[in-house]
Symmetry: C2
DNA sequence: AAAATAATTTAGCTATATCTAAATAAATAT
DNA sequence: ATATTTATTTAGATATAGCTAAATTATTTT
């Protein structure tokens, strides 16, 4: 049984919301995430329930099923592989890839994805540092902490961002930070939690606690 | 004003039918080409007429407009660039690419196509030997003749096929012919027009007149 | 020129995916 | 425990893209 593009997008949104720890995901949550109206969501939840990728009880929100999770992870896998392709092969900036990947992820061809994966040399993380699920939906994530929770003198590598809005990504680019950059915490201001960071053993960078909390670091 | 995926597909079909020399393209022709019913075509022609990519007079078929031609060629350009990508980078066989390219051609991102074009080194022909229109819809085609119209002892290179059905492409693969192969006509049987061909200065190949008429050759 | 046939269009239906407005259920506050 | 507020669903639209069956127009045959 196949899902339409719209259904795939809803399922992906429900998967992401489910991962945020809540027991169940509400109609309103989904509407906010998808930028649609709750009325449209109700209808879609009924359909997804019938297709058994979610468990839906009217008025009480939804739970994603195992089958639903599997399918959402397939879509996420495709999205992230295309992002790697766009950045590494077509020289897109990492803040330009999301929209296009959002379209590419719905192309139906298991062979295409297999070949793309091989062509890209089986990448394990996308350009934002998010892990790429394997064919079976397994994800190997790296242990990572927000930059602002590191101690002075500790070092690591930027591997992901929490807020991947275009605005934030552009900001990072501007100040010379990027996924993969090697960093060291030079100073933490006790008063406001702002940080002084050494990037790639060259540049010194000042950032607010807020910015720091949006940057995830693999410690070394 | 944008076209939907379905509208793009109809327009492409109308463009191809228009190229076959007829003055105007009929509803039935389009229905046959698109595997839909004439009733559905009537409706779509009305819409495409309103969007001014075709000129539509009820009961008298359609003419594609300049704007329509420009748009059809953009879609064809995208389709053929993706085919090159699938064959050259992802190692697809040339008889496996059509379906996937049919989906990929509808991704909306001028930047993507620009970058893909550059990544592929600005190819001028797709894996079937068909020319790739440039950004402005200009097409440079090579003069080419059907293999069965060549004389004995003449040489050339296979650059395209007329019938690009999967069955025919598989047949060619099986017998060791391919786009790009250098060939020489060793013999033509007067009785039935069948041919004896030397492929890549190594293999000898016998083929019927029918097969020969489906293979297009750039003479040298 | 009328009749028969073929091509095309229209009308009305289905399915998807959205919306607004109204109705209803659940949660919260008094 | 009742009233208010919030969340959710239902009902009824709209738009796209397809279908069948009936109606209409164009073409061909006699």
């Amino acid at each position: 049984m196949n899902l339409t593009t719209a259904e795939e997008n809803y399922l992906k949104a429900i998967y992401h919301l489910s991962e945020e720890g809540k027991k169940s995901v509400s109609t309103n949550d989904v509407a906010a995430e998808m930028n649609t109206k709750p009325a449209s969501v109700s209808d879609m939840l009924r359909k997804l329930g019938e297709k058994e990728v979610i468990q839906y009880r009217k008025y009480y929100g939804v739970h994603i099923t195992e089958e639903g999770k599997r399918r959402a992870l397939q879509t996420i896998r495709k999205h992230r592989l295309w992002e790697v392709f766009l950045v590494e092969k077509l020289n897109f900036a990492w803040d330009e890839v999301h929209e296009v990947a959002e379209e590419l992820e719905h192309i139906q061809s298991p062979l295409l994805i297999q070949r793309l994966d091989a062509f890209l040399n089986f990448p394990k993380f996308d350009p934002h540092g998010d892990p790429i699920p394997d064919e079976y939906g397994d994800v190997r994530s790296r242990p990572r902490i927000p930059l602002n929770e590191m101690e002075v003198d500790q070092s690591g590598q930027i591997v992901a961002v929490k807020d991947s809005s275009a605005a934030f990504l552009r900001y990072l680019d501007k100040v010379g930070a990027y996924i993969g950059a090697r960093i060291k915490v030079l100073d933490k201001v006790e008063f406001d939690g702002s940080l002084e960071i050494l990037v790639d053993q060259k540049k010194t960078l000042f950032m607010s606690k807020d910015v720091g909390s949006n940057i995830l670091v693999l410690q070394s």
